[in-house]
Amino acid sequence: MSKPGLDPSFLALGYRQLGEVALARAAERGVQHADFRFERNRYQHLAVRDGHLQGAQDSEDLGFAVRVIHRGAWGFASGVVLTPQEVRRVTDQALAVAEIAATMTPTPVELAPEPVHEDVTWVSAYEVNPWEVATSDKVAVLSDWTARLVRHPVVEHAAASLQQVQENKYYADLSGTRTTQQRVRMMPSFEAMGSDSATGTFDSMTSIAPPVGRGWEYLTGRFWDWDAELAEVPELLAEKLKAPSVEPGSYDLVIHPSNLWLTIHESVGHATELDRALGYEANYAGTSFATYDQLGTLVYGSPAMHVTGDRTVEHGLATTGYDDEGVQTQSWDIIRDGVLVGYQLDRAMAHQKPELNPDPSVPGAGRSNGCAYADSPGHIPIQRMANVSLQPDAEGPSTDELISRVERGLYVVGDKSWSIDMQRFNFQFTGQRFFRIENGEISGQVRDAAYQATTTDFWGSMEAVGGPQTWELGGAFNCGKAQPGQVAAVSHGCPSALFRSVRILNTTDEAGTA
């Protein structure tokens, strides 16, 4: 099969000429920096419930953005009318915004240098563009899934959904960089719901399949065994409905990648965004306990903890060739042997902290590690998360071997509820399935469990990580950040891992309804 290429319908949109109009206009006004971004993002969301199509929507963002640094301040404007006259008007708007901002920007904005990338293209790794598949075929798959689920007597209702995205971007700046890119991602999911007539309890269980940077081939069974999971989930739900409520207390946990990815996202991924550490998100998403003065000294976790930032891993949701500031993407260490050693950067951050990612071609300067991203042409690029992943132990154990090391504990599979504080200290997570571990063996599920910890205590309690055979790439489509709010898709790889003495709550007790 030939490698997918750039969508001809995007290439036909005439964005290059519009970009040159914007950059020429900005140059006339003597700006320090200007960039032009043209995007078309296509989305499709399909939802099926109990075999019936519940909702189907195709949508598309199409437009352009002009960003300038003028008189030392940022100015940004965007538009949707695709004419040279409108591009000139929007460029003038961006300059006007910068002029207002300049009076209240005491420290001039500067960007870290980046090599010029002249007219480069990049397309993500997928085989079949989902837009080439008939909607009826997709709905048929989802309907089949719900039909198979409700065949089980415990399943009263079943839902299935599919989200897919094709993201096209063109970027041009005054230094001469021109990038054209295309990314495809998919998020299929299903959920089975049931109740126990004896107790009146209801519950649900979902697929643990991760969203991926792949095409329609993800639904064919080659990369995820949907048949096996569809057969397994009703049985697991039936077991969960009859399961005893967890006894709160301290437990050893073996956490599967389908749950641990989200804990990594919240407690490591966001905490090591440099814009947060420097206060730029203080009014919204929050700051970080991992402050810059602790770089190289903060003991984040146990020596088994090695975390990387990576925007290059194949099929990752945050993977791309060049970021939204024209920076070629990279991978790097964030935590090595349990110690904080790196952050995620955009060009403005990299200029402030050149020692984080020194640019060998410009002595004394730093380079962004490629984490600028905007979710639409109407939004300004900000520092967003790379694929932040926990590395496996090259000679590490299997999940079963990790479980065998636990005398009294829980095996946690699948994500569900999550919450963490605004400096990323205190968190609480639940899961799809909590299996009791007794004397090194699984002995059925328990209900109503949540684990709660402080980030450094939790990662400090990680005794062992599994081997590469346990490593999976999880992730999310909907990570929120910034004002105005933006969403980003991001993947997190991790192995199974063993944590000692973690606090387990009983959520029924917490609700006061025991």
Partner: protein, 462 residues
Amino acid sequence: MSTSPQELVEHALATTTSDDCVVIVGNNTSANLRWANNSLTTNGVAHGLSVTVISFVAGRDGTRTGSVSGAATTRDQVTALVAAADAAARDSSPAEDAVDLVAGAADPDWADPPAETDIGVYADVAPMLGEAFGTAQGGGRLLYGFVNHEVTTTYLGSSTGLRRRHVQPTGHYGCTAKTADLTQSAWVGGATRDFAEVNPLAMEAELATRLAWGAREVALPAGRYDTILPPTAVADLMVDTYWSAGARVAHDGQSVFSRRGGGTRIGDQVARAGVTLSSDPTHPGLECEPFVVAPASSNTSSVFDNGLPLARTEWIADGRLSALLQTRHSAVLTGQPATPAVDNLVLAVEGSSGGVAELVADVERGLLLTCLWYIREVDPQTLLLTGITRDGVYLVENGEITGSVNNFRFNESPVDLLGRFTAAGATEPAFSREWGEDYFSRTAMPALRVPDFNMSSVSQAR
């Protein structure tokens, strides 16, 4: 060449080959300023124009629908959207929520152009904000914040004759202040329709007062506390309650509003007597779209309901659950009236008056929160929510605020709170810190005193 929104609607309706069609055009302009460390950071203006075409194709096995949205500004672009929507409908499966489309006529203001905003909305605010930066800097404080104003004009037309237009201004402001050593934090924020009443200097002064409350720091352990939730924190919780009030999921036995054994809890006492939770598109200061706009169907909305008039709806009346979010389709399933979602929410407690200060005055020893954050559902059956306190938890002793307290993680059900609060203030405009900015800003709430609010653990976050 650009075309007016009304022309785009008419062009789509004239072009479609489907049996019926609904077209929604949204013209959105916005302007924002953002700041951190007493300095403006990322600022911008934007113009968006989205067109949604929903095609309906009748067949022997039911009606199929296709919904396609895009940033169309020309007839040619709309023609492409219509073709895609028509094709999507023919390629789809029968919709389970199919009912007759809403009929009607044209609104009197249908022909009016879109209303818009721009950076000029901050003509008075921006200079004061610059002055506030200076005041804060001089006082050893750091300001972080954001103001956003947007105006969306919606045009909705249908093949059944509906032509509806609505202008929705939405604005909000929020500012966090920290002491120079970053050990104390405070927040103020609110919603506004036009920024006429927003005064950054007054905001900075209020933040300085709150930071001063932190001169005495008190460490308290996890536990259940006599807690005053100000209107903003009540809004944080009530928005979640509203979003969980879907009739379909309740009827299917999957929410806190499900009756064990089958059906919904409509008619049940779910809150204290005197409690009313309602929505009303004409509520003064919280005016919102008076008709349904649904680009896609879901558990709580239906594309077939587009244009359906909205009216005041009491979700909880005198403590009893009186309505859930109903499409016309779910209304048939549940045997209840159709009560679609309305884009505002008001909680009122009969006989209540005063505000946070009056509630504080009656507390011997307890906590006063500022706002809640990162609120997520833990258990739908009880609507147990978890989240964190943020930017100011204060100790109340003998009716006075005497210091600041560490943050906590809470685990609580807002439905349960409505049954056990012991005192309430008057209802006032209240902006949810968690949900107000991106999702749901039009709320009015009272302060509530809850005697045993569950602080599950301590957070070190400042």
